[in-house]
Symmetry: C2
Subunit: 383 residues, 2 copies
């Protein structure tokens, strides 16, 4: 049905009407006091969202550009870094490191399993001459729906003392507690089409004073992604390069909505959405790809047995105008991923689970009690 | 007056209503066949606009990011490059080269004057052992309103035989004839908030086969700005990283409008807008900052005598809701810049010139025949 699409992919996520209308307003000049005022408010609200007093900078990039900026501004050729890899995005940051001539060591886990914090501890403890310059971790692995144990891994990094903790928070920021200052994270990078509830086109990088110290001697080349330029401009409520004015106006709107809901409200809503989704999937007797203990509050991956993942996706799309994501790389057609990140309500989960029941019936998969998915999801939502 | 702003800065430029409404549509998934179809059409239309069969790639960046990508993908540390500098943007590309450890030689001219093609010829002819790897030229210098003689300078580059011709076409593409294939340009970079008639947030880089040859051995590090990734994805009507879906939908709309108008129509309109603006300014007895022979069809800079540029801008904004740009760097408050690029009609020029007359009167500047600006502009438009 035209205009009826409901996005339940892990990004772009649904955009509220007020943000869509902000996008449709004619751009204003980006070197005006009106725009500076908006930038000033946006920057304050970004700090609130990151639970930080640190700089939070905005770049015209996708999330990948933001994470790359968060790496290359603080490192020099040959620097030894540890990258946690248990999915497509962790692997991407290893590729970035290699592209820039860094000495990349990977700590890996099977896709769908979490990284083992002890492996980080071992490497960091063994590094007595402090050659490890940074640890890069994908907090919520978008490709699998696994939430890595950032808090513990970061504690090991703090014990090391000199390595920077660089976090890909692309699908965790605005979904799960990520207190940058309390935990002492050094770099937190994210993208607009996720918890921020606006379309893609903006990247964000928050930077600690310790990371700025490293910046002073970091030699990897950069210009457009040089965060020093963004820092200088942001302090004056402006931007080094022409910013995506319309997206920033939309962001101004959604950050206001987020402040109204409050961090506690946002986090508990995502917990509830995750639990209801997982209960619903279990109620349909479908295997979840990631275990409960390390499930991402942003994405739930389902690994259907006896029925193809892409056939389920196809019916959800054609019959119910619900877009869910497929598996990436070797997980193609093995899993499907339900995004419940950002502008998502309890009702959306009920729509997804009940539509999924119809899709499974159509495909002849009947290994569940009729209504069992909704019964289980409803139990969570009624709590 | 609320909502009455008329943008006459050199970017963001005015956005047509149909493009604004496209922006306001809910994003769709970027990994869908619907979006691939849009990308395919957009890519074909970008080739038409660039008058090329070469790859034209889209990046989520500002224009600066696009030009930087257009440089760093084809060069290695220490490479000798020539950068033409006669304004803020030329100087920026020299800074990019220096940031990446290139051996940057500048050919300069005073801001407001064009670069001398003979100086390029001299350096290129003297380079008998072919050490010059690229020449970087800003076609239309946005900071001054000067159009550099790309056609002649490019001819000297072709005579050299091995150097790449890299063009910053940010404010020339879609305003003046720029036949990439006919001229044999190697890299043409631009940004969305200019002739494309959409808001900022997208960068474009067109790449010749000769530049792709250089890419094979180019050693400057890059990942997010690695054009090889964009080339591979674009060939499959997809993108390497999450693209700004809404902006691409708006671009799909405006490229359609451009095709309807036709390249000849677009170029002759910009010529007429430029001539009418310049005639109007002369009719108000105000000095133009760049001479007629090398005036940009996108931007007209005015260097008022006996009245401050910023006071004029302030009245235009407050009384008439017309935003014109100020001077940059040492030209601050010395010049103002009228953008007439993209979605601009004859009527807009009449509004600007007539509002300017009122502003000058308010400021007590009376060195002109009343109505003289409009009389002169009208003469051009009635031709």
């Amino acid at each position: 049905m035209d205009d009826k699409l409901m996005l339940m992919i892990p990004g772009p996520t649904p955009v509220p009407e007020s943000a869509l209308l902000a996008l449709a307003k004619h751009p204003i000049g980006h070197r005006t006091s009106e725009f500076s005022n908006v930038l000033g408010e946006v920057t304050q609200n970004l700090k609130w969202l990151h639970q930080t007093q640190n700089d939070v900078l905005m770049l015209t990039t996708s999330g990948t550009g933001a994470v790359e900026a968060g790496m290359i501004n603080f490192l020099s050729p040959g620097d030894r870094i540890i990258v946690g890899c248990n999915g497509k995005f962790g692997e991407r940051w290893a590729e970035v490191g290699i592209a820039y001539g860094l000495n990349v060591e990977q700590i890996t886990a099977e896709w769908g399993k979490p990284l083992d914090p002890q492996q980080f501890a071992d490497k960091l403890t063994a590094d007595t001459d402090k050659q490890i310059k940074a640890v890069i971790l994908t907090h919520s692995e978008t490709s699998t729906g696994v939430l890595n144990d950032l808090e513990t891994i970061n504690r090991h990094v703090k014990n090391h003392g000199s390595a920077l903790m660089i976090v890909d928070a692309v699908t965790s920021l605005g979904a799960v507690n990520l207190p940058m200052d309390d935990w002492g994270l050094d770099v937190v990078a994210s993208g607009s089409q996720k918890g921020y509830m606006i379309p893609p086109g903006l990247g964000f990088v928050a930077v600690s004073p310790k990371a700025w110290e490293a910046y002073k001697t970091a030699k990897l080349p950069r210009y457009y992604l040089d965060l020093g330029k963004y820092r200088k401009s942001t302090a004056k409520n402006t931007t080094p390069f022409t910013p995506p004015v319309n997206l920033i106006m939309a962001l101004h709107t959604t950050l206001g909505m987020m402040k109204t809901e409050g961090l506690e409200g946002i986090f508990s809503r995502h917990q509830r959405l995750m639990k209801a989704t997982r209960a619903g999937i279990k109620g349909l007797n479908m295997p979840l790809f990631a275990a409960d203990e390390f499930a991402s509050p942003a994405i739930t991956s389902v690994a259907p047995q006896g029925v193809e993942a892409d056939k389920i996706r196809s019916i959800l799309k054609k019959r119910f105008d619900i877009a869910v994501a497929g598996g990436q790389d070797h997980l193609s057609n093995k899993i499907f991923r339900i995004g419940h990140l950002g502008f998502v309500s309890d009702r959306d989960i009920l729509s997804a689970i009940s539509s999924l029941e119809v899709a499974l019936r159509e495909l002849g998969y009947e290994g569940f009690t009729p209504g069992g998915g909704i019964a289980a999801a409803a139990r969570v939502l009624a709590e």
